[in-house]
């Protein structure tokens, strides 16, 4: 890559960052997100992983259904496990599944969108037909059916979310590619002898990457909420307990009839905070990428 292009790109990044920094909602979202990423990364320092094992929890003499006043900081569940340990370790699974599923979503959506928009013609028509099919099939029932068919593990959940949520990204990217394709610099590159691969890599991709990033940030909340719902319905990985899995176990084992609020409040609040953080960041990025959208005129 030429140094001029590098310089321009660096300038763009610092301009976007300057705009982002001046947005209050964006910075709040970023701060909340960083807190949760820190919790997920520092999980081994914050809670002993053995606390998740009911045998260990019993040997420690933990109470059953102990409220936070009896077993700080967040009490214990029906098999004496620490709720705090479940919260800390669950943040890892929820964030990981949410991010990995989003990466898959964006990858499929971008590839389909770029190929459809750039190649055009029959390829475009076929790809858009398939996209439309996936848009119309109700998303959650499809995810449920696929997850119950594939079996209960983290990678299947990631696959299911990715395969069901890419179509809106594909549409958005395709529309952007179609406008970029018309620009003069693409004609110029082609007349200088550039091939399709070069044009996509050096001219199309840099010009749609901002949109893809904003879209990815807004796709994470959907991924996390879908994972939560699938886990709650009993399709989660039994060996990697996410926040959604905690909510399921609380529900199934009667935490609500016992008013054991300490069991199901933390996990839900964690989901709410992370989803809200990503939404705020995504909306800010979207407004920067497309100033016409600015919601607070």
């Amino acid at each position: 890559m030429t140094s001029i292009a590098m310089q321009r790109r660096r300038a763009t990044v610092s301009r976007v960052w300057a705009q982002f920094r001046s947005s209050r909602q964006g910075m709040i979202g970023l701060a909340v997100l960083l807190v949760f990423v820190a919790v997920a990364l520092a999980a081994p320092l914050l809670a002993d992983v053995r606390e998740l094992n009911p045998v260990y929890a019993r040997a420690q003499g933990n109470p059953q259904w102990g409220p936070p006043s009896v077993f700080p900081p967040l009490g214990t569940d029906y098999i004496r496990r620490s709720v705090w340990a479940q919260f800390v370790w669950g943040s890892r699974v929820s964030l990981f599944v949410g991010l990995a599923a989003t990466v898959l979503t964006i990858l499929i959506g971008s590839v389909v969108g770029i190929v459809a928009g750039f190649v055009g013609g029959k390829v475009d028509a076929v790809l858009m037909r398939v996209t439309e099919w996936f848009l119309v099939i109700p998303f959650l029932p499809l995810a449920i059916v696929l997850a119950s068919v594939l079996g209960r593990n983290v990678w299947n959940i990631i696959f299911v979310i990715g395969i069901t949520s890419w179509p809106s990204t594909a549409r958005l990217v395709r529309a952007q590619v179609l406008t970029v394709k018309q620009r003069l610099f693409v004609d110029r590159a082609r007349s200088l002898g550039a091939g399709g691969g070069h044009i996509v890599a050096h001219h199309i991709l840099p010009n749609v990457s901002g949109l893809i990033l904003a879209n990815a940030t807004l796709a994470v909340p959907i991924s996390i909420l879908t994972e939560t719902t699938l886990s709650f319905l009993g399709l989660g990985d039994p060996t990697a307990a996410s926040w959604g899995k905690t909510l399921e176990e609380a529900f199934v084992n009667g935490a609500m009839a016992r008013n054991a609020w300490w069991y199901f409040l933390p996990a839900g609040l964690g989901i709410l905070a992370v989803v809200l953080a990503f939404t705020l960041i995504g909306r800010t990025l979207e407004e920067i990428a497309n100033p016409r959208l600015s919601r607070s005129r």
Binding site: R129, E132, W133, V136, I137, P138, L140, P141, L142, I144, V145, L146, S148, V149, P221, L225, T228, T229, F232, L233, G234, L235, G244, L247, A250, F251, M256, A257, N259, W261, F264, L265, G268, I271, L272, V275, L276, T279, L293, R295, S296, R297
Partner: protein, 313 residues
């Protein structure tokens, strides 16, 4: 129109192959590992048409689907379609009422937020709807249930009628409405946000238009400018959103129905997952998809009728 038919065909084919992929041994799953003579198994294979090539099997599947014959539920041993028909009214009532309430309240909230933009009213409406929008709907249901049913005891903890009561007529209806209150509140709060945000941004777009300045220049009062000139032109995306959301009227409340033991299609889905009750899941998925396709078509037609600039489909 043609697009909708093609999509339906796609769903039918997809549904067929998806469940063939998992259910490599449907006869085996019928007996769940019990010892059965090989002759019985062979007879059943012939009876179910499993000895036929895949193309013939597909034709069988189309014929049975057209006759609404989805097989026998693994869990209840009843025909799947009968189970589904029994569960439809509860879901229609619950999700239908919640959808209407959230559309009306959400749109009104969006209008107020946009018209009074950047005031405390706008900020409180926008941020509170975003919070409801960002939480798992069933978790909101769990909190409301613990608060109002377990702790305060104002509402029943679940179900659709009081156990053991054999009231009829109006008394029964009131009892059901009483049971519906908490799940309906949950769904309404969960759906609100989308309407508020869409209405707000659509109205903000319209508010820059010249014809509003003209209306004001004529001396019309603010309320009249809003209700007669701005809002009708901003409602188009809201109408589409409403129509599309009604496609999810059957499948929209899976986890919330499970939380409140509401005996509808959502709870049937949640129960079928636990099995897994594959014939039940297959039929539910087909029904949910068909509902969405039909309502998308209605949305398209309404849209081109309300906005003549959109070409006929």
């Amino acid at each position: 129109m043609l697009g909708s038919v093609l999509t339906l065909v796609f769903v039918l084919v997809f549904n067929f192959f998806l469940f063939r992929v998992v259910q490599t041994d449907p006869i085996g799953s019928l007996f769940r590992g019990r010892n059965v003579p090989q002759a019985t198994i062979d007879n059943l294979r012939v009876a179910f048409g499993l000895d036929q090539p895949i193309g013939t099997q597909f034709l069988y599947y189309l014929r049975e689907t057209a006759q609404l014959n989805f097989g026998i539920s693994y869990q209840s041993r009843q025909p799947v379609w009968d189970e589904i028909v029994r569960a439809i009214p509860a879901t229609l009532a619950l999700v239908g009422i919640s959808s209407v309430l959230s559309a009306v309240i959400g749109t009104l909230g969006g209008i107020v937020a946009a018209w009074r933009r950047n005031t405390w009213k706008d900020h409180s409406i926008t941020s509170s709807t975003m919070v409801f929008y960002s939480m798992p709907d069933f978790w909101l249901g769990m909190i409301l249930l613990v608060l109002f049913a377990v702790v305060l005891g104002w509402f029943p903890v679940g179900g659709i009628t009081t156990a053991g009561s054999n009231e009829t007529g109006l008394a029964r209806l009131i009892d059901q409405a009483y049971h519906m209150f908490l799940p309906a509140l949950t769904l309404t709060l969960a759906y609100l946000g989308e309407y508020t945000l869409v209405t707000r941004s659509s109205l903000l777009d319209v508010m820059g238009e010249d014809y509003l300045t003209v209306a004001r220049a004529k001396g019309l009062r603010d309320v009249r400018v809003r209700n007669r000139h701005a809002v009708p032109n901003a409602l188009l995306p809201v109408v589409t959103l409403t129509a599309i959301n009604f496609g999810f009227v059957l499948s929209g409340a899976i986890a919330v129905e499970a939380v409140f033991s509401w005996p509808g299609l959502g709870k049937a889905t949640a129960d079928a997952i636990r099995g897994p009750d594959l014939p039940m899941l297959q039929a539910l998925f087909l029904l949910f998809s068909a509902a969405v396709i039909v309502f998308n078509l209605i949305a398209d037609i309404t849209y081109s009728w309300l906005d003549p600039r959109v070409e006929e489909i």
